[in-house]
Symmetry: none
Subunit: 411 residues, 2 copies
């Protein structure tokens, strides 16, 4: 079965907004054995939208449309779709009640213009929106499965995972079973991964792909087989082989982020962590605390942007900073020891570096970063030189710091 | 004139690759007065690709295709396009020489398979690739301008800016000049914005759009006029009117993020800021420090996840926490006062709340957040109840906290 994903909204055409929804949806569809053959983006124009919807009906069996379900004049998706399918829009009482409940829960006045969000093409079934206002809906028309979800990413994701996914699975019952895994690596170049996996990559079965990201090189494994078991076995066997060749460089799989891996290791080993950040400015801490339950192992962090704060909050001697500079091996080590002792945690991670664009010198260029990890056994420091702009340097530094904790925990 | 941008490549359909090329191209086209009406993504499949190309010829006057110009078997763009237009592929000697020169300059052996990259549909004109190998080309067919560029972002961008742009400008000689602005708001619901701007939104001139994001509601203004001056004037006049109606809710414009606005205000007023974060876990700090030069006004932050850290790092009395709970108006106020005094900054912002999914009670549900701002005049506290998942609650809280600082600074 082939799908077309359609994103609606003029803001997706005028240049600033990336359509990330379609990545998530293509992923989710693939898990159900549905391959995405086309993606389209169209603005809030009735004629253009109708043309795109009509085309999708010609060439895909599953059509997922996002956006244009809000309460305003330019939210025309439901209207255009209903007209094209020659259906009336019907006020869905259940959906209306859910919308009104959201306003009541927020103690906010209910503007009548929101009524239109409860309009559903006749024959359509409502998809509840547990994290927002606009409900979605789906309908099956001449064997085509047509679903409409809001454009707000979080709402779209939740609704796909909690309801649409199950409706699609029931409708599609594919003959082809697809199993996919994505292995995440850090600390190994794409060309090196390519070299180490060359024979596997060339085989074509499973379909393999490499993607370089700020968080490292991702390796995707896509096994398409005639049975679920065979697809699973092929993907598992390939995963095992890749892990064998790349070793510790593989830090996680699928949706696992580095901070989740580190969190699980800390929890399992009943250890705690604290952080002292300079150039990453809270990024490491905000990543760690993005994981629910992180308060069990994460005690505190300090963002010591000024020299005074390094001395006051971490006990880094002012003379040490004066002698070596704030961005130095020595200061990184003192920061890590300082946060670990003051927070009374098992581990303390510290970062000092130059994120740029200003502040670099010939000796200490933009991208120079020191990472330090203090443990009961002492403190270790790594020097890194990252390329890229300010944001890239900060992102890569945060990833490297989390990886340093991970490697210590699995050692 | 209307454009369609087509990205080819199966990795854009199955993988995790975002198509950022089309953002750049839509921007570049708009500057030439060409509006992008459609964007399409299609895989490396001859039939699908031909269908998408054919559709584009029906509905757009300018078609820009990216990807599929490489030397491998699955690079089929030129072949499919030539066949559809009933043109022969002709070996372009100039292009071939340029390709061979790249290999020579890199001292690399020339694989004959690269010859095919010099094949151009007859009647097409070559677009040189100064930063890579595969040349692009364009042709004008029944008044349609069709351009093909490589998919590698850097090559695509350079070729658009250095050659395609000029060819398009010469071909299109637009009678229409476009000026665009996007205003960012926070703290006002989309339905409310719609209500306040209803007459402007309905006028259709300029073209207006509303988009709800985690960072608030964005209002886009697109002025299309017969002269550059008239487009500018219309956009400016509309911006002024929107700002008049929405007042302080408008916090920024175009690429400006809230943290940049706050940073500029702090810098202008020669004030400094520190932060004490609990449930946001470093997010506010990492946003502030994402702006280059933020060390001029941002002194430090503490992420006080544990009660002990609130007492040790901020001087929040343990009894106060015991009496009111860590998530309370009183503790938020004490955190803000504590960080401001210890960091010796003009302002101190503090957050305490329940990001979930666990930890909520009937009295203090998930999403309950206290924001406190300490200044020389005293401390003010706001209570908020945010909906959404952990990530949304954290994102919205960070935005609300930055906005609280902003409102104080413009008061």
């Amino acid at each position: 079965m082939r799908a077309e994903i359609i994103a609606t909204g003029s803001e997706l055409l005028t240049g600033r907004t990336v359509d990330t929804n379609s990545l998530f949806l293509a992923d989710g569809l693939l898990d159900l054995g549905i391959e995405t053959a086309f993606k389209s983006v169209v603005g809030d124009d009735e004629k253009d939208m109708e043309e795109v919807f009509r085309r999708a009906l010609d060439r895909a069996e599953v059509i997922v449309i996002t956006g244009g379900l809000g309460p305003t004049e330019d939210d025309i998706t439901r209207k255009v779709l209903a007209r094209m399918l020659k259906k009336r829009l019907v006020l869905n009482e259940k959906a209306l009640k859910a919308i009104k409940d959201v306003f009541a829960a927020r103690n906010r006045e209910y503007p009548a213009s929101n009524d239109r969000q409860a309009l559903i093409p006749s024959g359509g079934r409502v998809l509840a929106n547990p994290v927002g206002i606009a409900p979605g809906f789906f309908l099956i028309e001449e064997g085509r499965f047509i679903a409409v979800l809001p454009g707000v990413p979080q709402e779209m994701r939740t609704m796909f995972s909690e309801s649409l996914r199950h409706e699609l699975a029931a409708h599609c019952r594919s003959e082809v079973f697809i199993h996919r895994k994505v292995l995440h690596t850090w600390g190994i170049a794409e060309s090196k991964v390519n070299e180490q996996l060359e024979d596997i990559l060339k085989k074509g079965k499973p379909v393999m792909g490499l993607t370089a990201r700020e968080t490292g090189v991702d390796i995707s494994i896509l096994a398409k087989e005639g049975s679920r078991d065979r697809a699973l076995t092929l993907a598992d066997r390939t995963e095992t082989e890749v892990r064998k060749r790349l070793g510790d460089a593989v830090y996680g799989m699928d949706s696992q982020a580095m901070e989740e891996v580190v969190g699980a290791l800390l929890r399992h080993r009943k250890l705690t962590l604290s952080a002292a950040e300079s150039c990453t400015g809270g990024l490491i801490s905000s990543r760690i605390t993005n994981t629910p339950g992180s308060s069990d192992y994460f005690e505190r962090a300090v963002v010591t942007y000024s020299n005074a704060s390094k001395t006051e909050l971490l006990g880094v001697p002012a003379e040490l900073i004066a002698a070596h500079g704030a961005v130095s091996r020595e200061v990184a080590a003192a920061m890590a020891t300082g946060i670990r002792e003051r927070a009374k945690t098992s581990l303390g991670i510290a970062i000092t570096g130059i994120a740029g664009p200003g502040g670099g010198t010939a000796e200490k260029p933009v991208g120079l970063v020191y990472l330090a990890l203090a443990t009961a056994e002492g403190v270790s420091v790594e020097e890194r030189r990252f390329l890229g702009d300010r944001d890239q340097i900060r992102q890569r530094t945060a990833q490297a710091a989390l990886d340093m904790v991970r490697r210590h925990l699995i050692a």
